[in-house]
Amino acid sequence: MYAYVVRRLFVGVIMLIAMSLVTFVLFFASPIDPARYACGKNCSPELREQTRNALGYDKPVIVQWTDFLKGIVQGRDYPDDPELRAAAPELVTHCPAPCFGYSVVNTKTVNEEIKEAFPVSLSISVAAVVLWLFFGVLLGVMAAIRRGTIVDRGIVAAALVLYAFPSFFIGLFLLKFIAIKWELVDVPVYTTIAEGGIGGWLSSLLLPAVTLAMLYMAGYVRMTRAFVLESMTEDYVRTARAKGLRQNKVLVKHTMRAALTPLVTLIGLDFAGLMGGAIITETVFNYNGLGKLAYDANTTNDLPTIIGLVLLLGTFVILANIIVDMLYAVIDPRVRVG
């Protein structure tokens, strides 16, 4: 088991390094000149050249890449200009390891940006996961039990319709009608627990979470339903009934236990994806999570931020995969990891 985890982690690291290289090469080929944005208005070619040097974009891609990897291991200084460090050390920003880079646009290290944005994305995704799991599984099981009835069809159809509207449409609809027109809830503005207490925090998450939940719920309703129906036909469920177990005991202890196991994988991966920021939802509601950060970084050609995010999100996915496998080993005694 232990050895297995180590091996998986090792493979993961290799993968991340590969990702970083790919990303660097891709962006280096990009026609966008990050220096232009930093250089600003009436920026002469000379000025831009100087800015490019200051930002280190003049170096060849491999050098930039290795610098980046070095930075992750041992941290970096920005701007990386010995002359300046000598003359005015207080101007140099030190980015301690693991340094994901420095965003000129936001005059922050990428680590700081992530530190600020991550809680938002995490909050939203947790709220969303709770919502869609609760309703998704509940409705899914209901549909399965009432298989073929109007209830079943109704649930599945409703979930499907909610899913089928583009998420940004749903988000805007909720915002404009639920929040603004009918004033059923406050216009959502992200509030930390520190600012608004648990209550304020939760209510600020409601609409974005609902938007995401609607998107995912359909899938979970239908999967839960499918898995439950499937395991209803399993021999061991028949055995359980043959013992004379009560119907709901059979359902809960025997059917569900088996049916919900495969959901773990999907939850794990979906959640990992969401933690990386729901770009559209966060943009619609203008919540400064990782998704919005990514979106803005893209509009301002903030390459360091983009690269940092790509790797961060990659890490989430890879870790999620490992964790899910671990969970499986815990849930299903047959699985022997290693």
Binding site: R147, G148, E234, D235, Y236, R238, T239, A240, R241, A242, K243, G244, L245, R246, Q247, H254, R257, A258, T261, I331, D332, P333, R334
Partner: protein, 349 residues
């Protein structure tokens, strides 16, 4: 009046493609302490019928009709709740392929104990103790340790023993064993069968053993019921059926197993063709498409008319469903030499 008597049992499954008549008018009787063997290829309706006796079919998916009198009460008239109370207590079942029949996520002990606690209001610990006891009884070594193992950690034989333990833990008066020995190697088979017999004596319960293996029948059954396409095609005492079968299908079954006496030069002749579809079974005698002897029947009787399940040429209690007028002769002359030459010689000398 028999302890268990099944009358005209019908189990029909309505599907999008039509009604599947898995069991179509099955009747038999069984006394306490005795064993009925139900034989037939897969899909002949054996398991479906037994599941019906346990009331395992969901009303939504299956239409069950007829009578199942256990100790005089018709199980089919009971409410779901009443049936549930009897299930696993008065009537227990041992399923084939215990690996899939046991829940992979719960320990063997847990599952056995559960079967006990359903019908007895006892503590978890007590139930577990009982489970260990049963495991010990069915011959699992170090039961107190293995009780916490998961099904996949057991060997095939042990799993089957565990299943038996689970079935008998409430010492039911009727035990249905569905292919209890399939997928077990011969030696283990023997052990399991012995175990079943011992237990039956001990608990005085009636046993229905479902199998396609006549070897098992020879070992266990007092009476035998041969099923084909959802119907009984031959019914009689085990001895009778094995020595003087009167239905070509039974002959087929006989010739498709190694001789009971384990004779080595016995030859295996598989039954040609496949079991019929239960959606639209063949007209007349369901077996006629595969029957090598249908030409011995005058006219197209086999093709048009379904034979009655009626006493054959031998005894009143030996029923068969076949148009052949002199089955014994045909058997002696054509089938026996094929499958058991030595027996033939004996009968000549």
């Amino acid at each position: 009046m028999a302890f268990l008597s099944v009358r005209d049992l019908k189990v029909h499954f309505p599907t999008v493609d039509g009604v599947v008549k898995a069991t179509d008018g099955l009747s038999f009787e069984l006394e306490k302490g005795r064993t009925l063997g139900i034989v037939g290829e897969s899909g002949s309706g054996k398991s479906v019928s037994s599941s019906a006796i346990l009331g395992l079919h969901r009303k939504t998916s299956a239409k069950v009709s007829g009578e199942i009198l256990l100790d005089g009460t018709d199980l089919l008239t009971l409410s779901d709740e009443q049936m549930r109370r009897r299930r696993g207590k008065d009537v227990a079942m041992i399923f084939q392929d215990p690996l899939s029949a046991m829940h992979p996520y719960y320990s063997v002990g847990n599952q056995i104990a559960e079967a006990y606690r359903v019908h007895h209001d006892v503590s978890k610990r007590a139930a577990k103790a009982r489970a260990v006891e049963m495991l010990d009884r069915v011959g699992i070594p170090q039961p107190d340790r293995r009780v916490d193992d998961y099904p996949h950690q057991f060997s095939g034989g042990m799993r089957q023993r565990a299943m038996i333990a689970m079935g008998l833990i409430n010492n039911p008066s009727l035990l249905i064993a569905d292919e209890p020995t399939t997928a077990l190697d011969v030696t283990v088979q023997a052990q399991i069968l012995d175990l079943l017999q011992d237990l039956q004596k001990e608990f005085e319960s009636a046993v229905i053993i479902i199998t396609h293996d006549l070897g098992v029948i020879a070992e266990m059954a007092d009476e035998v019921l041969v099923m084909y396409a959802g119907r009984a095609v031959e019914y009689g005492s085990g001895n009778e059926i094995l020595t003087h079968p009167e239905m070509p299908y039974t002959w087929g079954l006989l010739s498709s197993v190694p001789d009971v006496s384990g004779d080595t030069d016995a030859r295996l002749i598989p039954i040609p063709g496949n079991p019929p579809s239960l959606l639209n079974p063949p007209s007349g005698c369901a077996f006629h498409p595969r029957c090598p002897h249908r030409d011995k029947v005058p006219g197209d009787l086999c093709f048009t008319t379904l034979p009655e399940l009626a006493p054959g040429t031998r005894t009143e209690t030996h029923l068969k469903r076949c148009h052949l007028t002199d089955p014994d002769a045909v058997y002696e002359r054509e089938v026996l030499p094929e499958i058991a030459p030595d027996l033939v010689e004996e009968s000549h000398s």
